[in-house]
């Protein structure tokens, strides 16, 4: 509603292009009331600055010139960090920070920024201008340390972070960014030594790991059906949310995740994404192995296990855990299980209906429109909005939702990451890296950021989950055999 209003009140006018040495700008004029309409990425991030209380309308129209860089050299793009705000390109810093690894290293960007600062001092001499650049640089560094601390994870000597520290100590002693940088260095060092102590360190490519303190001896032959559906869903959500929160958004970018760059292929790229995928595959494998289990399981016994998983899927839906939900659904749809006609014939018709409703969420019709819309609608809402046709289920779902509301337990959202990865792969394929004159196509990065911003928003919503691990279940889950392809038949 708010966006529609803002869009209606502002009239955008293309003012054309400004071409400079090593940079091309798009210039637009906007007639705005109070503020400009935020673009999609900013909207998702909640960057739009509605400082005025609702109902307090100032009908003042202003023309605001927005100068946004469309393409440029490495140097120009880095230096734009210092000027974008003044040009009313308010999301530039975020877009740059989340996408620059596709065209420059952390080291290079820092070098260019500091060089720019030094140049101002040398040539222009005006203390005023130097002060401006210093302030702009300070706010860029603050944003950087806040939003992408992982960029500075360069053990054991942390060269980039030391460079930042050295600059801040010299230019802005006692400032907030300096304190931030110092804290970050301590954190990274502590984290690193903890990892060294933990044998082998964290490879990031393993599914969820149990903490060391939970060395409880548990009978491993626990039966799947002895776990309550809501417990299983909660534990899956516990694992998924921990992994999703760790996802470093820029690792989802098409050129990074798909390892388009040949030089990058040797390294295990995108460990945080791999961890999510591994967990997804482990859930799928767990569904398959519990249903197939012993070879002589009777159809009605298999049907009970299938029903169990459908219940769990529904519980994942209530928790807005679309990752495990999709993993379970796709496992049940997979050929090894799908072909168990006799077992499916024994599954209760209410369960079948639920299964079909849940499957519909992931229909590929219209490029997964259903799941996208659902994610948009529920992404940051407190609870899932469920409408089910299956009577019995409806009752149970309502009861569960009511219970959640009574307890004030808000739900986060865990998306199925694959849709974002495909979107970003397609964007990467469709848009060129370089445009005329070999300039870096920053317009491409703006488009990619729209997807990244959605991931970031969901990650922050993910903090709403309030979940506690259940060692018995987690241990059982980890002990599940992963069937080989042949054994599934």
């Amino acid at each position: 509603m708010k966006f529609a209003w803002a869009a209606k009140m502002s009239s955008v006018q293309d003012w054309g292009e400004e071409v400079e040495d090593g940079a091309i700008y798009n210039v637009t004029l906007k007639r705005v009331q109070i503020q400009q309409a935020a673009n999609k990425g900013a909207r998702w991030l909640g960057v739009e600055n509605d400082r005025l209380p609702p109902g307090h309308t100032v009908s003042q129209l202003e023309t605001c010139k927005i100068r946004s860089i469309r393409a440029g050299t490495q140097q120009r793009l880095a230096e734009t960090l210092l000027t974008a705000f003044a040009d009313n390109d308010l999301t530039y810093t975020s877009i740059f920070l989340y996408t620059y690894r596709t065209f420059a290293s952390t080291e290079t960007v820092l070098k260019l920024l500091f060089a720019r600062y030094e140049r101002v001092g040398d040539s222009e001499g005006a203390s005023d201008s130097r002060g401006n650049v210093r302030n702009a640089l300070a706010s860029v560094l603050r944003a950087w340390l806040d939003q992408c601390p992982e960029d500075f994870q360069e053990p054991p000597s942390y060269p980039s972070l030391r460079r930042v520290l050295e600059f801040l100590q010299r230019a802005l002693p006692g400032s907030e960014p300096l304190r931030k940088a110092q804290t970050l260095l301590e954190q990274l060092q502590a984290q690193h030594s903890a990892e060294l102590e933990a044998e082998g360190g964290f490879h990031g490519n393993t599914p969820f790991c149990l903490g060391e303190e939970e060395e409880v001896e548990i009978e491993l032959q626990e039966d799947f059906l002895s776990f309550e559906a809501d417990l299983v869903a909660e534990q899956l959500t516990y694992m998924d949310s921990a992994l999703f929160k760790k996802v470093i958004p820029h690792q989802c970018l098409g050129s990074i995740w798909s390892q388009r760059d040949r030089k990058q292929r040797k390294k295990q790229a995108a460990p945080t994404i791999r961890a999510t995928v591994t967990q997804f595959n482990a859930v799928t494998a767990c569904v398959v192995s519990t249903v197939l289990h012993r070879r002589r399981l009777r159809p009605h016994q298999r049907a009970r296990v299938i029903q169990g998983w459908i219940d769990i899927a529904q519980e994942c839906r209530i928790r807005k855990n679309f990752s495990s939900l999709r993993a379970i659904i796709s496992a049940l749809q997979s050929n090894p299980l799908y072909r168990l006609k006799k077992a499916w014939a024994c599954v209760h018709k209410d369960s079948i209906q639920t299964f079909e409703e849940l499957s519909d969420i992931f229909s590929d019709h219209n490029n997964h429109l259903t799941s996208r819309e659902l994610l948009m609608r529920e992404g940051t809402s407190k609870f899932a909005s469920l409408e089910s046709c299956a009577k019995e289920l409806q009752k149970r779902t309502h009861k569960r939702l009511q219970l959640q509301k009574d307890m004030g337990a808000m739900q986060g959202t865990i998306p199925y990451l694959g849709t974002f990865l495909t979107d970003l792969t397609m964007l990467d394929t469709a848009l060129p890296d370089l445009v005329e004159g070999g300039l870096i196509n920053f317009e491409k990065r703006r488009r990619e950021f729209e997807v990244i911003a959605q991931i970031k928003l969901l990650q922050s919503a993910c903090n709403s989950y309030c979940l506690t691990p259940d060692p018995a279940f987690l241990r059982w889950f980890k002990s599940q055999p992963q069937y080989s392809e042949e054994e599934r038949y």
Partner: protein, 213 residues
């Protein structure tokens, strides 16, 4: 208005994640007869019409799971509902060639009880200097797999069109010969708009009722 087509074929493109599947699809679909535009990504990828004989058009529904290759159950779920596939490897990457057998095995396993018609595609043939797989070798493998073979390049737009048409034609012939049938719970092949079908079936029933008197 939607274009008229006689059949819809669902196709998949499989192969290692770095072989350039998306590029191939993109080249094939960009700006040509696309009738589905995706508002989310703003990229047309998913459908195209191909004229197989004058006046006879086939709608290709193309499934691209690029970026999701490692979510095993997701990519597998696409096999069952596809009638054809491009099995793609990168001519400059020997490993992607060696993995073909794995891709094929996986496809066969997950396509049951249906079958998929494959075309073997050696991609990036423009990079002559970097080539690691010879045409002869690839043709031999294609023969062993029982597939046709074609070499493509999205960069130079070499054989992109041809590869999809070749596969489409192959499937079309099999449908005509009755080797592949339209089935209710299968998305692989669907028949298109054929006007007056509803009426003719009703009319066919009527005469029979009159008989007994």
């Amino acid at each position: 208005m939607e274009a008229i087509w006689i059949y819809q074929f669902r196709l998949i493109v499989i192969g290692d994640s770095t072989v350039g599947k998306s590029c191939l699809l993109r080249r094939f679909t960009e700006g040509k007869f696309t009738d589905i535009s995706d508002p989310t990504v703003g990229v047309d990828f998913f459908a195209r019409l191909v004229e197989i004989e004058p006046g006879k058009r086939i709608k290709l529904q193309l499934w691209d799971t690029a970026g999701q290759e490692r979510f095993r159950s997701i990519t597998r779920s696409y096999y069952r509902n596809s009638v054809g596939g491009l099995l793609v490897f990168d001519l400059t990457n020997r490993r992607s060639f060696e993995h073909l057998k794995d891709w094929l095995e996986e496809a066969k396993m997950h396509v049951q009880p249906f079958q998929i018609v494959f075309l073997l595609v050696g991609h990036k043939c423009d990079l002559v200097q970097l080539r690691q797989v010879s045409r002869e070798e690839a043709e031999k493998v294609a023969l062993a797999f029982g597939m046709k073979y074609i070499e493509t390049s999205a960069k130079g737009t070499v054989n992109v069109e041809e590869s999809f048409t070749l596969l489409t034609r192959d499937i079309y012939e099999r449908v005509k010969r009755g080797e592949i049938n339209i089935q209710e719970d299968w998305e692989g092949v669907k028949s298109g708009f054929v006007p007056n079908v509803v009426h003719s079936s009703e009319e066919a029933v009527k005469p029979g009722r009159r008989c007994p008197c």
